[in-house]
């Protein structure tokens, strides 16, 4: 069935998903301008391929798939694994710093930015956007188990980063797309056993 964007409630659903796409993109790449470019690119792609969207399936997941593919293909081109943290949440989050004196949101943004992109993606999809592991797996094009292990590693690393007083001790190496190097894992174990 061909879907025309005009006379379809899909158009409204698509517009309604824009805030989520932006939040995801900003969290993913850490820079608002880059994020907005990505979202616009994804919207244009989605619009032009609306006929390939299966009505009745999850539109937001479909849009997120297009968006993350745009991000990761850009990432491969630029080899820019670590996100910027300047635009990420930090500046505009309204939670007063005093209420969370021991855990500043800027630290969270900074720590998030230091995660490998695939782990950051998994954490945001499941932990912030609220997708199920299954949905996240289908968005990221990987196995459910992979999403789970990415989330676990992201969580461990985040906790480790947040625990260190000055949270840039661990600069995420650029090629750390897959497994944590054993050395690093060992250090994490050491840190968590204290």
């Amino acid at each position: 069935m061909t879907v025309k964007a005009h006379d379809s409630p899909l158009r409204d659903d698509l517009v309604a998903a824009i805030p989520n796409m932006r939040a995801f993109a900003i969290s993913l790449c850490g820079n608002r301008d880059r994020a907005d470019d990505l979202v616009q690119e994804a919207l244009v792609k989605a619009w032009n391929h609306l006929d390939s969207f299966q009505v009745g399936t999850n539109l937001k997941a479909w849009l997120f798939t297009i968006l993350r593919n745009a991000y990761f293909s850009e990432l491969r081109k630029t080899k820019r694994e670590v996100a910027d943290s300047d635009g990420l949440m930090a500046a505009r989050v309204a939670v007063p710093a005093e209420q969370h004196a021991h855990l500043d949101l800027k630290d969270l943004a900074k720590a998030l930015a230091q995660l490998p992109a695939d782990q950051r993606e998994a954490l945001i999809l499941v932990g912030a956007e609220g997708f199920s592991y299954e949905e996240a797996a289908s968005i990221s094009g990987c196995a459910v188990g992979t999403v789970k292990s990415r989330v676990n590693r992201a969580r461990a690393k985040l906790a480790q980063l947040m625990a260190s007083p000055d949270n840039d001790v661990e600069h995420a190496p650029t090629e750390e797309d897959g497994e944590d190097p054993p050395r690093k894992a060992a250090r994490a174990r050491l840190a968590s056993s204290r």
Binding site: A5, M89, G127
Partner: protein, 86 residues
Amino acid sequence: MAEDEKAAGKRPCQEPDMAHEADRRAPKRAPDQDVLPGILGKQLKAAYGELLNTPIPDAFTDLIKRLESKEPTDRPTKSRREESDE
């Protein structure tokens, strides 16, 4: 079926199968606290929620208007170039 088998003989004692129970009761959606426990999870949610509530820049409504005026699904995709030309 596999369960019957288990219940029938493979397990000597009748401990409640916690893993199975959790599995059956778990909603499809992952519970937040499982993903990122404690204050870290709350802050991630808070920060993300704040982003969600940020008003959409005009560029997006403009983009949608442009797209709507173009009969997109009937045309070959040359979106990016068209978009930047306008």
